[in-house]
């Protein structure tokens, strides 16, 4: 009886090992068939619609990428999933709301328009203030989060750190709800960044709107990502961050102040999440206490998709997740309600077929 049992288990092990490829190939065949159906047989959408989906996906992907970098940086250094990271992004979005609200009530009358307010008189300055405040406050939140909740647990098991992060996330979410109320708040943009305005291009005889807010978010996230990449690759801070990520103890022996580097990592990831939050506010226009939770989980998914601990991976993962999420339902011809299902299914499939993520290096079994 016992021997038979062992044999069965052994078979299971083999199935687990090779089943991965079977599942992968079967899935790829199915997807190809389905996409062929939608694209060439049903011809459900015209090219302009596809372009619209792709654009909204890229814009969303830019924000996911910024948040995902924060997850990846922290995971690379501390091997923890910083569950409260989405809430840091929510703080950024709230900053955007409050700054715009304040500036909306500061009068800046000029001749010919006595009713003009600061927000519309100096729109670029207003947006700059919103970003500065949002990024500063989020950076500080990241710093204090680490200092209060995570630093005392530096050498604790990972499970404990995870629970702490979950606790911090619940706390921040509910604090925001109690402070500002549960209803969603409309963010009023400066007039030049009206959400319905933009450039119109003609695709196959039909107009496609590229909204100013979308273009603005996409360009800004690209700039921030390039900036971060340079910071990590070229500066001394970046070098010490990479050193700590590789081996904390050796880095400490080489004279790197580990605590300081961890703090700086949290500040940087907070700043990026804050920027993503302000962008979210400007582009989406709605904020409440749960604004951060779903983008947070998605961005974490994106980080894993690209290869956790890998910064270009997080960028690629974020972008591709955004695009998959917005094109996927149309491409497979299913309901748009299920876009989150597609996002998470992609994650699971990638993990099953290539556990180290798209750009992650081939890990040894020890590290997996």
């Amino acid at each position: 009886m016992k021997k038979l049992n062992r044999k069965t288990l052994r078979t299971l092990h083999v199935i687990g090992k090779y089943g991965r490829w079977t599942v992968g190939i079967a899935l790829a065949l199915f997807l190809t068939w389905r996409i062929y159906q939608v694209l060439f047989v049903q011809q459900a959408f015209t090219p302009d619609t596809w372009l619209r989906f792709a654009l909204s996906g890229l814009i969303l992907g830019g924000m996911y990428a910024l948040i995902a970098i924060g997850y990846t940086l922290v995971y690379g250094i501390m091997f923890m999933i910083n569950f409260a990271h989405g809430e840091v992004m929510m703080i950024g979005a709230f900053c955007c709301y409050f700054i715009f609200e304040i500036l909306r009530f500061i009068p800046a009358p000029i001749a010919g328009n006595p009713e003009l307010v600061f927000l519309n008189a100096h729109p670029i300055l207003s947006i700059l203030i919103a970003f500065l405040v949002g990024m500063t406050v989020s950076g500080f939140s990241g710093y204090f989060l680490e200092k209060i909740a995570y630093r005392p647990l530096r050498h604790a098991p990972r499970l404990i750190l995870l629970i702490t992060a979950i606790g911090a996330s619940i706390f921040l979410q509910n604090a925001a709800m109690l402070l500002f109320g549960p209803q969603r708040k409309n963010i009023v943009n400066p007039e030049i960044l009206d959400r319905t305005a933009g450039w119109t291009i003609q695709v196959a005889g039909k107009p496609v709107l590229i909204s100013y807010t979308g273009a603005f978010s996409l360009i800004l996230s690209a700039v921030l990502m390039i900036g971060l990449y340079l910071l990590v690759q070229k500066t001394k801070l970046g070098r010490s961050m990479r050193a700590v990520a590789q081996d904390q103890d050796s880095a400490a022996l080489m004279g790197v102040d580990v605590n300081r580097v961890v703090s700086q990592t949290f500040i940087i990831s907070g700043i990026l999440a804050g920027a993503a939050g302000v962008m979210w506010g400007i582009h989406m226009g709605l904020v409440n206490h749960i604004t951060g939770s779903l983008p947070g989980i998605k961005a974490f998914t994106a980080a894993v998709l690209g290869g956790v601990g890998n910064i270009p991976g997080a960028m690629l993962g974020g972008m591709s997740l955004g695009v998959i999420e917005s094109i996927g339902p149309a491409l497979l011809g299913i309901d748009f309600q299920l876009k989150d299902v597609i996002a998470f299914l992609t994650l699971i499939i990638v993990l099953i077929i290539r556990p180290s993520g798209i750009l992650g290096e081939k890990l040894t079994e020890e590290k997996l």
């Binding site: 687990g16 647990l153 989150d340």
Partner: protein, 518 residues
């Protein structure tokens, strides 16, 4: 040294000040004063504010705590040492409070309603903060005085308590308690007969209590029981085998939905027998756990956590979506789920149901307990401690982990069945990610790897909030804060699991031996 003291006074004042501002902005000062008022046997009527005295008392208590904590940090020998730090502490705290009153007082005076932005700050609560005074400046001065004095008082209380009373009393009490604990109490508890008596007492209690304490308590304790089941189940894979599962709720949801679809009249009308449907639902959950584990479990690290997290979200969204509405009832959920029957009799009154839940808890706890001590269970614990070593000693880590995940999913399915059947309703909102986060938390709070710990954790996390209904708005906030604090102060949980002693007794220090009381 002295400068450091002053700085610590300043920080303490600032931190307490920030806490006070936060409490005011979320509207907790009203609630806190109301609780104090209730404590003194003077409950506040709904929609009225507590009396002024209680507000003052609440603010003063905060300041007393601040002063005492500053004094504690300094370890004073003479009282003069703590005067200036505490005064700074009080002054900073007072200034913050005064500033708060000044700012919001002027808003009220100008007739501005800030509730558009800060929902909890009503004009009445600002008036209350201003101690019912008309002028903001006057109120600010009064608050400054009050907070400084109360902080000072706090430091004084700490100093006196610490110096005069505690030294002698503490020592005698602790030494007496120590001897008792060492000699008799431990022996008494460790004897098997004590365990049987405790078990018997518990059984008698569980038979009588549900008949006495009414349907509300039956409902609460039923929820606690279901969470105990979930905790024991998750403990198999996370506590013993060491593989984190975040999306545990998906197995719970699959169990509940399978059972509901099999017994409810609405979407399919199968109306199966309770016990048969229970078995099928548990089997389906176990199968899903098995299928998820198959490709994932020969990887290490957090992959299982991430995959189950994604899977839980997928399950929830699918249950809610239009795609499956015809099959699962969609967002409206499933109604009229069947209750348990015994020999053709319905036994779904709330008293009978709680018996069923307790019975299942006993059964599963017993099985889990036996499993832990079995060869398999020891294998799991070896995997948790070190996978490579476990492999080297001949444990098939993959199949062990797969078995653990399957069993754990089966227990979650059982909990889901009981949950759906008791509520006679289940919908997508019953299976959100928060449920599994709650389960992880109760396991951690109670003590990982320990069944009594899980029971205590479930009581603390699901029972306590039901009791604290007055502060229901602040429940989740306090939950998050407590979770963080718990991890910082006592990460091993209330009742940590006893780790096997790896040391060779011959090598042990004689003193250590004596301390362990062997």
């Amino acid at each position: 040294m002295k400068k450091a003291n002053l700085i610590s006074g300043f920080t303490s004042g600032l931190v307490t000040g920030i806490i006070l501002v936060f409490l005011f902005l979320i509207g907790f000062i009203e609630t806190g004063a109301g609780l104090l008022s209730k404590l003194f046997g003077d409950p506040v009527a709904t929609n009225t504010l507590p009396k002024l005295g209680y507000v003052v008392l609440f603010l003063a208590l905060l300041a007393v705590w601040s002063g005492a904590s500053t004094a504690k940090k300094i370890h004073p020998e003479r009282f003069s040492q703590i005067i200036s730090p505490v005064l700074i502490n009080g002054a900073v705290l007072g200034l913050v409070t005064a500033l708060l009153a000044l700012i919001f007082g002027n808003y009220v005076k100008a007739g501005v309603d800030v509730r558009n932005y800060l929902v909890a700050v009503s004009p009445a609560s600002i008036k209350m903060l201003m101690l019912n005074m008309a002028e903001p400046a006057q109120a600010a001065l009064a608050l400054l005085g009050l907070m400084t004095a109360a902080t000072f008082l706090g430091a004084l209380i700490y100093f006196v308590w610490n110096r005069r009373l505690s030294v002698g009393v503490k020592r005698t009490v602790s030494s007496k308690l120590g001897t008792v604990r060492q000699s008799q109490l431990v022996d008494l508890i460790r004897r098997p007969i004590a365990r049987y008596i405790a078990l018997g007492g518990a059984v008698v209690l569980f038979i009588f209590l549900p008949r006495v304490w009414g349907s509300y308590w039956n409902y609460v304790m039923g929820t606690v029981g279901i969470y105990i089941l979930l905790g024991i189940g998750l403990n198999i894979i996370t506590g013993w085998t060491g593989q984190l599962v975040i999306g545990y709720v998906s197995f719970f949801g699959i169990g509940a939905y399978t059972f509901a679809l099999l017994t409810a009249p609405d979407p399919h009308g199968i109306m199966m027998n309770f016990w048969l449907a229970l078995l099928i639902a548990v089997a389906v959950s176990a199968l899903v756990g098995f299928l998820i584990g198959l490709p994932i479990l020969n990887l290490r690290g957090d992959y299982l956590a991430i995959v189950t997290l994604g899977f839980a979200e997928i399950v929830r969204i699918l249950l809610k979506s239009d795609l499956l509405t015809a099959f699962t009832g969609g967002p409206r959920g499933i109604r009229d789920i069947g209750g348990p029957t015994l020999f053709g009799m319905d036994i779904n009154s709330d008293v009978n149901f709680i018996y069923l839940i307790f019975l299942m808890v006993f059964l599963i706890a017993f099985i889990a307990n036996r499993l832990q001590r079995s060869r398999t269970g020891r294998g799991w614990e070896a995997i948790r401690e070190d996978q490579t070593v476990a492999k080297a000693t001949g444990i098939n880590t993959f199949s062990s982990k797969l078995l653990a995940l399957t069993l754990s999913a089966a227990v979650a399915g059982l909990a889901g069945v009981l949950f759906a059947s008791r509520n006679q309703f289940t919908g997508p909102e019953d299976h959100i990610l928060l449920v599994s986060i709650n389960v992880i938390c109760l396991m951690i709070v109670g003590g990982v790897g320990n069944i009594p710990g899980i029971i205590i954790g479930a009581l603390a996390l699901k029972g306590l909030p039901e009791i604290l209904r007055e502060v229901s708005n602040f429940r989740m906030l306090a939950f998050g804060a407590l979770l963080v604090m718990m991890m910082l102060i006592r990460p091993e949980g209330f009742l940590p699991a006893r780790r096997p002693n790896m040391k060779n007794p011959a090598d042990q220090d004689p003193q250590e031996k004596a301390e362990e009381g062997v």
